[in-house]
């Protein structure tokens, strides 16, 4: 009953957006909008200091400071992270190689300084949460354009800025979200917020982009917050000292570097 009602609403929304689309000079489809979002220039490599704050429902915080390096090597994206604090995990490092080829699963390694050993982690779950945060690896940009069916369902103006509202429904019915809704700036294709709905089509999480900065033409989100509304748990991610295209050598992403530290 509930879902039926929801569907009617959606159909109505689609009709409205269809109408407005025709009036607009620029007629982008949902898929085209998302394609632009996914293909925003991001540079070949990036260095930054990440402060990740986990906040539970009683307001307690776990703050983690991480120095991170990422590099796009074409068919593989490599990243390496070094924990700076809290002190008891300092120099713990984490490396991941993500392949464009869907059939190839990510490679992940962890180095625990007290154990003085590098261990390979293999995990079969793509929906894994990133370091205990409210972000999954997918949420952080591991999603591919044609994993979902995208539909432009409306346009809104918030605080004087125009947005597209795009709904994305995963093609894989077993996927952890039943749909997402994204508000995307018309001028630069940066998202403002994104809503994630669980398999029962109930709102699960809200991602808010609080700040983005322009680094010589490359837009980088430097402050974002993901809130799991069902668990009242939040994660904020803040980037500082962002550097783009500094030419990080590919050899940086190796087990030897994990052990050596920064």
């Amino acid at each position: 009953m509930k879902t039926l009602k929801m569907k009617t609403v959606l159909v109505a929304l689609l009709a409205v957006s269809g109408f407005t689309n025709q009036v607009l000079a620029q007629q982008l489809t949902g898929r085209e909008i998302i394609d632009k979002v996914y293909n925003l220039p991001s540079g070949d490599d990036q260095t930054s200091d990440l402060t990740m704050t986990l906040i539970n429902k009683s307001g307690k915080e776990r703050i983690r400071k991480i120095k991170q390096f990422t590099k796009d090597l074409g068919d593989v994206e490599k990243s390496i992270m070094f924990f700076q604090s809290p002190a008891d995990v300092k120099n713990t490092s984490f490396m991941s190689w993500t392949y464009d080829d869907d059939s190839k699963s990510d490679d992940q390694w962890i180095y625990l300084p007290t154990l003085k050993k590098i261990k390979r982690i293999s995990s079969d779950s793509k929906s894994d949460y990133f370091m205990g945060s409210d972000f999954t690896y997918d949420d952080l940009g591991d999603r591919k354009l044609d994993d979902d069916t995208h539909k432009l369902i409306g346009e809104e103006t918030i605080d004087g800025v125009d947005y597209y509202v795009v709904e994305s429904i995963p093609k894989d019915e077993e996927y952890m979200y039943s749909k997402t809704k994204t508000w995307i700036r018309k001028d630069n294709f940066i998202g403002l917020k994104k809503e994630f709905y669980d398999e029962d089509e109930e709102l699960l999480k809200i991602l808010k982009i609080k700040k983005f900065e322009d680094f010589s033409g490359i837009l980088v989100i430097t402050n974002s917050e993901m809130e799991n509304v069902q668990k009242s748990h939040r994660t904020t991610m803040e980037l500082k000292n962002v550097e783009i295209n500094t030419g990080i050598p590919a050899s940086k992403f190796s087990e030897r570097m994990m052990m050596r530290g920064i």
Binding site: L54, N56, S58, K60, E61, R62, F83, P86, D88, V89, T92, F94, W109, I110, L112, P113, T114, L115, K117, I118, K119, R120, I121, S122, S123, D124, S125, D128, Y129, F130, M131, G132
Partner: protein
């Protein structure tokens, strides 16, 4: 007072209509507003420190009671059919509205973290149900190697596997339970059996079964009381009016509860029990007097007869009611709100029963007429001074053989004192069911295969000192305690806390070497393992065992029994670690429904014993004031004391544990004991003022009050013995204990109290104090 009552007689129709109109009003209110409170948490005093802490801890760690669905296959569970059933059932339970998806745990949802040569592997045990023999064998091996699962989710003999679905406190309904059973039973096949157990099931079934059984039994109880009352009163009208008093007072009591918006708690079902036992007494005494008067004055008019009855009886009726009400009001000292309410509303009911006995009952007689006079043969030798031969000889023989009563009483008191030592308190729910009931057998079955169906949560609290539970020495102590409790006690099936994760991670990171199944010595190592677990496992799991700042730890002990002895034995072993934890700046606290039940039962008993003592003192004072004699006060309290002592003594001997209902029964001892004593004493005083012979006074009193007391006892005993045929053991205990209390009150009043009264010489020492 007497004048007022007599005046009211002239307006009997009006009083009748007014009372009935108000009753209808209350009845409508009841229909409209009454709600049952079945959530047991609502019974607990919310401001008690133990409950405040427990409630907070339940919130921190998401501690909830779990429904356990056990899937049994005698041929072993590692086959496609059984595993498919497990998967399908897990998914069905995850879809229940009443259950959070994340709160369903089974082999299907669990992560298997294993160590490999070069690293660590985090995988579900299975996602697709394995079909090939190799894959099934692989799964079997994986389960056997993972002690966080083996013995917890899969029994060690591999014939049973469980799904645990945690639910919130207040979602359990009959429909929900039925739905669970339907879903579970639908998956049964020739090979696969499904069992459903767990505290929510037990608690919920009990909350439903008890009142349902009462609903079945109460009409029969009332019918029997009606019949016996009819035989003793020799009058259909009298029976109706007397029972009418009971019904009206019950409706008013519950009506008032509805009016002030107080829900019906389980203990509130005891209110009608009290009112039946106490309420019929006034009617019987009034009718007894009326009969005697009518028998002796067959020509007297209705009005004369009723006036005489009121003149003689209003005082004892008022006195008994006031003392009984005050006795119940002493329950206000209890910290448990339902018990407080029980006290207040029973007291209100008792006072209303008094009003109805003095207004409604006379009005009824005015309207429906007097009972028929029995012809009395004045010539017959009665062997004494009253009109009843039996009463005369009984009173005479009690007095003659007074030492029998005294010695008998002393022996009974001594025996009871012995019996009382055996009394134990039990907060168990499961013990309230028949030993061979489905629910008990399922529980037993699961306890045989797994850690236990009940749990106790120990919360270790470092009082805000962050990262305490990353310290090796702290975790090692926790680990030692867990193993100690587990090894020492048969009743503790297993234990679970953060240490289990650390042990496992340490082992996994060292290539699954069993030698590393320990807490590492380095704090940073522990912190890094925890970070690793957060990154690779489900961080939600850790939230159930430790708080965000690592300053509070939740240790779960699985118990194979929910009775108080089991919980206390675990607490005893845990307490031996208290000093060592305190030295580390850590305090011990507890949480969970089992623990709260234990504290709650203690609270009820403590309150009950306090109020018993308090009401006894109040009653002695009131009686002394009413009769203007402290000796009377003491003598009058004797039946109460004996009734209470015997009641507890017999419970001890028969191994009936004290629980919320059985403890409240001691109130009945007071209510009834005081009734009997006051009527008897008042009659004795009245008779003593007309004679110099103590025996005459005794015999007359016996014929009048004694007879009424016996009738009263017979009526109520007959009624409550019906409960012995109840299907719900606590209701059987209730029936037996109420009957017992009635019997001892009556026996105590007519024997030892009479003897003491006789020997004390009150009313005969200084003759003619003159009672107006």
């Amino acid at each position: 007072m007497e004048k007022l009552l007599n005046k009211l007689l002239n307006y009997s129709w009006i009083s009748m209509i007014v009372i009935l109109a108000i009753t209808i009003g209350f009845f409508l209110l009841m229909k409209e507003n009454t709600r049952m409170e079945t959530n047991l948490d609502k019974y607990m005093p919310q401001n008690h420190p133990a409950f405040i802490y427990s409630d907070k801890a339940e919130e921190w760690f998401n501690i909830q009671d779990g429904i356990i669905i056990a899937i049994e296959n005698q041929k072993g569970i590692f086959n496609t059919e059984t595993l498919d059933t497990l998967k399908q059932l897990t998914r069905k339970f995850q879809k229940f509205d009443e259950i959070d998806k994340a709160d369903v745990t089974s082999l299907y949802t669990a992560d298997n973290i294993v160590g490999t040569e070069d690293g660590m592997d985090v995988k579900r045990f299975f996602k697709r149900v394995p079909k090939s023999p190799e894959k099934l064998k692989q799964l079997k091996e994986n389960v056997e190697k993972n002690e966080m699962v083996f013995g917890r989710l899969v029994s060690t003999d591999e014939t049973v596997t469980v799904i645990i679905a945690e639910i919130k406190d207040d979602v359990f309904t009959q429909e929900f339970y039925q739905e669970i059973l339907d879903v579970a039973k639908a998956s049964q096949t020739d090979d696969i059996k499904i069992h459903v157990a767990g505290r929510p099931i037990v608690e919920g079934t009990m909350a439903l079964l008890g009142p349902a059984d009462m609903q079945r039994m109460v009409p029969i109880v009332i019918l029997i009381i009606f019949l016996v009352l009819f035989i003793t009163l020799r009058s259909f009208k009298g029976t109706l009016i007397t029972l009418g008093v009971v019904f009206l007072s019950t409706i008013w009591a519950f009506g008032l509860m509805a009016a002030v918006n107080i829900p019906i708690y389980a203990v509130s079902t005891m209110i009608p029990v009290m009112l039946i036992a106490i309420g019929v007494a006034d009617g019987i005494h009034l009718y007894s007097h009326l009969h005697t008067f009518v028998d002796h004055n067959p020509t007297a008019s209705k009005k004369e007869a009723i006036s005489d009855m009121l003149q003689h009886m209003w005082k004892p009726v008022a006195m008994t009611s006031v003392t009984t009400a005050v006795g119940f009001i002493s329950l206000l000292t209890s910290q448990v709100y339902p018990v407080k309410y029980f006290g207040i509303f029973t007291a209100f009911g008792v006072m209303m029963a008094m009003v109805f006995s003095l207004v409604f009952l006379p009005a009824g007689i005015m309207i429906f007429g007097l009972p028929k006079a029995k012809k009395i043969d004045k010539e017959e030798d009665k062997g004494g001074h009253s009109h009843s031969k039996l009463a005369n000889s009984f009173a005479a023989s009690v007095i003659k053989n007074k030492y029998v009563s005294i010695i008998g009483t002393v022996v009974i008191i001594i025996l009871s004192a012995f019996g009382m030592q055996e009394i134990w308190i039990n907060s168990s729910f499961l013990d309230k069911f028949e030993k061979d009931s489905e629910i008990v057998l399922t529980d037993k079955f699961i306890n045989e295969h797994f850690g236990g169906t009940s749990s106790l949560n120990l919360i270790l609290d470092a009082d805000g000192k962050k990262d305490t539970f990353k310290e090796p020495k702290v975790l090692k102590l926790v680990d030692k305690m867990q193993k100690d409790v587990d090894n020492q006690l048969q009743v503790v099936g297993n234990t679970f806390s953060l240490t289990d994760y650390i042990n496992r991670m340490n082992k996994v990171m060292n290539a699954d070497d069993e030698a590393y199944n320990t807490i590492p010595n380095n704090k940073n190592m522990i912190a890094q393992y925890l970070l690793l677990y957060e990154m690779s496992g489900d961080p939600e799991n850790l939230n159930k065992v430790v708080d965000y700042d690592y300053e509070k730890l939740n240790v779960t002990f699985q118990l194979k029994s929910d009775n108080s002895k089991a919980i206390n034995s675990a607490l005893d072993v845990i307490h031996t670690y208290e000093d060592r934890f305190n030295d580390l700046g850590i305090t011990l606290n507890y949480a969970g429904s089992g623990y709260k039940g234990l504290v709650f039962t203690d609270l009820i008993l403590e309150g009950q014993i306090m109020s018993l003592i308090l009401s006894l003192i109040i009653i002695i004072v009131l009686l002394s004031l009413m009769f203007k004699n402290i000796k009377i006060g003491l003598i009058g309290s004797v039946p109460i004391v004996i009734t209470a002592l015997i009641s507890f003594g017999i419970m001890g001997f028969l191994g009936i544990p004290l629980s919320t209902t059985t403890a409240l029964l001691s109130s009945i001892a007071i209510g009834i004991g005081i009734d009997y004593a006051v009527h008897f004493l008042e009659q004795y005083r009245h008779n003593a003022s007309n004679t110099d012979d103590k025996l005459v006074a005794a015999q007359k009193t016996m014929a009048h009050s004694g007879k009424a007391i016996i009738y009263n006892a017979i009526v109520v005993i007959a009624g409550f013995l019906v409960l012995l045929f109840s299907v719900f053991p606590p209701n059987r205990e209730l029936g037996a204990l109420v009957s017992l209390n009635m019997f001892t009150s009556f026996a105590g009043t007519l024997t030892i109290m009479l003897v003491l009264l006789y020997m004390s010489n009150v009313y005969f020492k200084k003759k003619k104090i003159n009672n107006q």
